[in-house]
């Protein structure tokens, strides 16, 4: 059988067996509704609260500050839209960056359509937001600043503590999308001083369909869904119990393994980059290698197009992603690499590799072998080359 190598852990992760085992009883055995007063209901309630504690512990929050949602996207929408709209009397200006996830960007566009003004901060050539730039963008009208913790494409980790301080000095709320950061770098919401933070289970070996929004005690945010009073009346609807239990278990494992996870992924990623550099000419690493998610590597292979390379790798059993326009539904190249200042033709040739807990050195060796073969093949077909110039 063909070797299967998954190098897209930033897209999603497989559910770890311990997580799956923890979830299974809650499908048909311990199926009670957490809102029911009898024993099996209360057992579910207990499981729900245990999971909340574990998710809270992973980010240094109190369990009462954790509100489960259906996804990181829902958490982002809730945080941004509800906080902005409920503070519209104070001002209608929010600040974010050009490299946010679409869950954030499209929430901002929605607000713009409703009369809000949004400032999209640039990033520097390394992929970082300049705190001075944030400082200058703030006005008396600014009610919210939302800056992602770690970027999904280039993995750069923003100086959240410093940025949050600046926002709060001017009386604005600070939200961060930490979907990629969770389980990949240590997070302590108290030390960071953030008001709201979005997280998701399926990036940390938990199930899909479950996320959470951290809302710091003292921050008022209108309820998202109205109904039966679940999630402290903030987000009604019968809880996704199996998902929440899975999230809790994944958070527990993540907290326990964080140091070795970071160390192992960093080593694998660096080994991977070293091998690419020694075996393939004319490449470009996108984004800073310092202050970057441990498992992330974003590389441009010049003179070829990323979707073609992705397809050839797929035929070799290797799963990766690309910033090429050809791979996106909108046919536009990656907005993150564009903001980074990568020339458009080089964006088309970019691939994102993300290693994870199940990646081995043998996987990397095999991938590099296939990369060498496939990059050469496509360069032979290509109508552009070093000689012909870009």
């Amino acid at each position: 059988m063909k070797r299967q190598v998954y190098l897209d852990y930033s897209a999603t992760t497989p559910v770890k067996d311990e997580v799956l085992q923890a979830m299974l009883p809650y499908f048909s055995q311990n199926f009670g509704n957490p809102s029911s007063l009898y024993t099996i209901g209360q057992e579910s309630k207990q499981a729900l609260e245990d999971a909340r504690e574990r998710v809270a512990a992973l980010i240094g929050a109190s369990p009462r500050e954790i509100f489960f949602t259906s996804s990181g996207t829902e958490a982002d929408n809730w945080a941004v839209i509800e906080s902005a709209e409920s503070r519209a009397k104070k001002g209608k200006h929010i600040v974010t960056t050009k490299i946010e996830h679409h869950a954030l960007l499209h929430s901002c566009e929605y607000l713009e359509k409703n009369g809000f003004k949004v400032t999209y901060l640039d990033i520097d050539a390394e992929g970082f937001v300049d705190p001075a730039l944030l400082e200058r963008s703030l006005t008396d009208e600014t009610t919210l600043v939302s800056i992602m913790f770690a970027n999904n494409e280039i993995g750069t980790v923003q100086p959240i503590e410093e940025l949050a301080k600046i926002a709060k000095r001017r009386g604005a709320l600070f939200h961060t999308d930490a979907v990629q950061a969770l389980g990949n770098i240590p997070i302590d919401v108290r030390a960071l001083g953030v008001d709201m933070m979005s997280v998701s289970a399926h990036k940390i070996y938990g199930p899909k369909g479950i996320g959470a929004l951290y809302i710091r005690k003292g921050v008022t945010l209108p309820s998202l869904l109205h109904g039966g009073g679940q999630e402290n009346k903030k987000r009604a609807g019968t809880e996704n119990l199996t998902g929440i239990v899975g999230f809790g278990k994944a958070a527990e494992l993540s907290a326990r393994n964080l140091d070795t996870h970071i160390e192992r992924l960093t080593e694998l990623r660096d080994y991977f980059l070293g091998k690419i550099r020694e075996s393939i000419p004319d490449i470009l690493v996108n984004g800073s290698l310092a202050r970057r998610l441990p498992g992330n590597l974003n590389v441009t292979f010049k003179y070829i197009e990323g979707e073609a390379l992705l397809l050839l790798l797929d035929l070799d059993g290797i799963a990766v992603s690309t910033g090429s326009a050809c791979s996106s539904a909108s046919l536009t190249p990656s907005h993150v690499l564009t903001a980074l200042g990568v020339p458009v033709e080089m964006i088309h040739g970019s691939l994102r590799f993300t290693v994870g807990d199940f990646t081995t050195k043998e996987d990397i060796d095999y991938t590099v072998e296939c990369l060498v073969k496939n990059v050469e093949k496509l360069r032979n077909i290509s109508s552009v080359s070093k000689e012909k110039g870009w």
């Binding site: 003179y303 326009a325 046919l331 190249p333 458009v344 290509s382």
Partner: protein, 152 residues
């Protein structure tokens, strides 16, 4: 197995026909741009009004490469007039279809063919009714065949 492309597209993509450049082509045309994400170059050899050989080089995605491969196959052995009749739809049909979002990649192929024949006509002072209204350097927007460079 669930895949984005059909077997024929994959076959032409992984093992494309007619890849290469010619020493002394009778006509040569390029279409698209690296900025747009795909650029195809076609070279042709013409004898007695018949395209006896065709080669291509393409910077582009899987379907652009597959389209280049079938398009060059299709024009070989055809007269110039016949080759000029090849449409985007013909290339698509020959490939057995592409995902809707990829259809623009086959537009690239029929335009590159026209650009190569245009060059041949220019060099030899020939006129072809099928080239009427075709100018490889005109209409930048059309050259981008839907390539949307709008970014925030």
């Amino acid at each position: 197995m669930a895949t984005l492309y059909n077997d024929k597209v994959i076959k032409h993509f992984t093992d494309p026909h007619n890849v290469g450049e010619m020493q002394n082509p009778d006509g040569e045309g390029t279409y698209g741009s690296p900025v747009c994400g795909d650029m195809m170059k076609i070279s042709i050899k013409v004898e007695n009004g018949v395209i006896v050989d065709a080669k291509f080089k393409t910077f582009g995605c899987g379907s652009a490469i597959a389209s280049s491969s079938v398009a060059t196959d299709m024009i070989k052995g055809k007269t110039i007039e016949e080759a000029l009749k090849i449409t985007n739809q013909d290339v698509l049909d020959e490939l057995g279809g592409l995902p809707a979002i990829k259809v623009h990649c086959s537009v690239l192929a029929d335009h590159a063919i026209r650009a190569a024949i245009y060059d041949y006509a220019q060099r030899n002072g020939k006129y072809y009714a099928g080239l009427e209204g075709f100018d490889p350097n005109a209409d930048e927007e059309d050259r981008n065949h839907g390539c949307d460079m709008e970014n925030r």
